[in-house]
């Protein structure tokens, strides 16, 4: 039962780029996230908005790791907000939280990244 890949909206905010992450982040999201990443402003922080995200599996974690690796190579800060308690825990367990600043909402992420 393959999913129809969901859209990831990319928008600018105070010099940073926000990606509104889809509801499900798994292997079917790969192309979506690739496209979204290619639409980033040439410079500036990357803010991942997980407000609408309900499900991330290990393939999804791998995609986020891939984005983080690219961003670090380009010297971009990466921050995230809107994660549920559960996925915040998973970000901690996987140590993604050591490299991605976690914020409760967009305002805090824009101000704090």
């Amino acid at each position: 039962m393959a999913e129809t890949a969901e859209r990831a909206i990319v928008r600018r905010r105070n010099g940073a780029t926000v990606i509104d992450m889809p509801a499900h982040i798994d292997i079917s999201t790969e192309a979506t996230l690739d496209t979204a990443y290619s639409e980033l402003a040439p410079k500036g922080a990357l803010l991942l908005n997980f407000t609408a995200t309900e499900y991330i599996n290990s393939s999804g974690i791998a995609l986020i790791v891939g984005m983080l690796a690219r961003a670090r190579k380009e010297g971009r800060a990466v921050a995230a907000y809107g994660l549920s308690d559960h996925y915040r825990e998973i970000f901690e367990v996987t140590r993604l939280a050591d490299f991605i600043g976690l914020f409760p909402n967009e305002q805090a992420a824009v101000a704090g990244h």
Binding site: A69, R72, D85, I90
Partner: protein
């Protein structure tokens, strides 16, 4: 009298020395050439010859000795003429024994003086040689003993269970520690027909290799007969008749043999003179008594068979006398009442074993050398054991993305179990990951192969069993994902699945057979570090 014998062997059969002192060396060389090695003569400690040399020193002709001495008779009988005492530090350590002079003349006074002088010089050297030999013999004896201990230990360990059986609804713990001398303790679990299991504990009299061999024999006899006979009294009676006449006299084996039905807690038992097991229940501690003689003592013994039920929450302790008969520095015995009291205080299982051992350590103090083997086996029946409730069973096709269906369906099936929200989320992630592994690895993404999911509630825990068709295949050990290595491009970004599962559930069990591979995710109710903050 080893010392005498050796000394005499060294010095027998000296020929005639020349008269001149300066010729001692040459005389000794000649003597060595002409010496005939003769068997040593044993001199009994009460032989009058010894008393004689305690009084008088110096060479003496055997013809002059008027003693009723077996040693003197033996020396004369083989033609010896003269004996010279070897004295070191005032102690008689041997005799120089001389035959007739080659010239057939009597030994002169000068000869004797020379011989006394020679003896005075030789004695300390002979004494040193004796001491070296004694020490060597001691070392060899110690090595033999040490080797025997190792053999006994090896036999013993070989025949103790390598792992404990897993019985649904029961916790099993066992402890064995050999004394330095290695007694003959043993315990065993034997699988029987109809999902019954035999519990065995025993103790062979004596120590070392003999005890270890009898232990191994007894264990084999019990294992051989257990599945066919089942009845504890019959098994012990048969073991007794096989052992009787076959094991060394004065050796025997105490043994408790019990058959447990794990599903009901029914326990049938017979006892061949072993220490009584304790059962701890709500009403306190009771002993399981059944009459019977130790195995191997007398032919044709009958054994009383009794029965009890171990109820939910009850525990049984099987033990050998290694703890109860341990002594403190004032020689007080640990004793059975004290064991019984400890059984009453602790619920059983590993906790009880730990308590017994630490109480024993307090009792005996630090310098204690363990007197006998210590063996402890406990079984605890869970509260409400065997109450397995199947909450849901379903299959999904091996198509990417279906793991979310499995996850949601498992979540729905445990809705009434009462997990805090956060633990439910963890279980969901683990189910999704395990199902993904089953689809991708176990079933190789072949849509026609199903992944089977069972959700079971048991003993305050939920078990989710996820089975695929990946049996008989080696499962590669997952590398531990290292985020830094991944970010540096040293590891692939993927490879988080098993890591996530392990971090999400309380326990992960993996089993496989020829055809199937099953992952069990265990999530305890109220357990976990974050149980309250859902």
């Amino acid at each position: 009298m080893m010392t005498w014998a050796r000394t005499l062997r060294r010095v027998v059969g000296l020929g005639t020395p020349t008269a001149a002192e300066a010729d001692i060396q040459r005389a000794a060389a000649t003597a060595r050439r002409q010496a005939v090695e003769r068997p040593p003569i044993d001199i009994a400690p009460n032989d009058p010859l010894l008393a004689y040399f305690a009084e008088s020193r110096g060479a003496v002709s055997l013809d002059e000795l008027k003693l009723d001495s077996p040693a003197v008779r033996a020396l004369r009988a083989r033609g010896s003429k003269l004996v010279v005492p070897l004295i070191s530090q005032g102690e008689l350590i041997g005799l120089l024994e001389l035959g007739p002079r080659l010239s057939d003349q009597e030994y002169s006074r000068e000869d004797r003086r020379l011989l006394d002088k020679l003896a005075g010089q030789a004695a300390p050297a002979v004494r040193v040689a004796q001491l070296v030999r004694e020490q060597e013999a001691e070392v060899r004896a110690r090595e033999r003993l040490e080797q025997e201990l190792q053999v006994a230990q090896l036999i013993q360990q070989q025949f103790l269970p390598k792992r404990l059986p897993e019985l649904k609804g029961w916790q099993i713990a066992a402890y064995y520690r050999a004394a330095r001398q290695v007694g003959g303790d043993f315990y065993d679990f034997i699988e029987l027909p109809d999902r019954q299991v035999a519990l065995v504990i025993g103790d062979v009299t004596g120590h070392g290799v003999p005890a270890a061999l009898v232990m191994a024999t007894t264990r084999s006899i019990l294992r051989g007969d257990a599945p066919r006979l089942v009845s504890p009294a019959a098994v012990l009676a048969r073991a007794n008749s096989l052992l009787h006449g076959d094991i060394p006299r004065n050796m025997f084996v105490t043994c408790l043999y019990a058959v447990l039905e794990p599903a009901t807690g029914r326990l049938r038992y017979a006892n061949a003179g072993h220490d009584l097991p304790y059962v701890r229940g709500d009403a306190g501690v009771r002993e399981l008594r059944a009459r019977g003689m130790p195995l191997g003592l007398m032919a044709d013994m009958a054994y009383e068979e009794k029965e009890t039920v171990l109820g939910p929450g009850e525990a049984i302790l099987l033990h050998s006398d290694g703890i109860a008969e341990a002594h403190d520095p004032a020689r007080n015995m640990f004793g059975f009442p004290r064991m019984r009291e400890l059984c009453a205080r602790y619920p059983g299982g590993q906790g009880l074993i730990d308590e017994l051992l630490s109480d024993l350590a307090r009792f005996t103090g630090s310098g204690w050398e363990q007197e006998d083997d210590i063996t402890l086996v406990t079984l605890v029946r869970s509260h409400g054991s065997a109450q397995e409730r199947v909450l849901d069973t379903f299959e999904i096709p091996s198509v990417p993305g279906t793991e979310r269906q499995a996850m949601e369906r498992v979540a729905a099936s445990v809705r009434d179990v009462g997990f805090p929200a956060r633990r439910l989320e963890r279980l969901k992630t683990a189910v999704a990951e395990a199902t993904m592994n089953a689809i991708e690895h176990g079933n190789q993404g072949r849509a026609e192969l199903a992944v089977r999911v069972e959700v079971i509630a048991m003993d305050a825990q939920v078990i989710v069993r996820i089975t695929d068709h990946g049996g008989g295949r080696e499962i590669p050990e997952a590398t531990h994902p290292d985020l830094e290595a991944k970010l540096a491009g040293l590891q692939k970004p993927r490879g988080w699945g098993l890591f996530l599962i392990k971090n999400m559930v309380d326990e992960l069990r993996v089993t496989s057979d020829e055809r199937h591979h099953t992952v069990e995710l265990v999530m305890r109710l109220g357990g976990g570090t974050d149980g309250g903050n859902g």
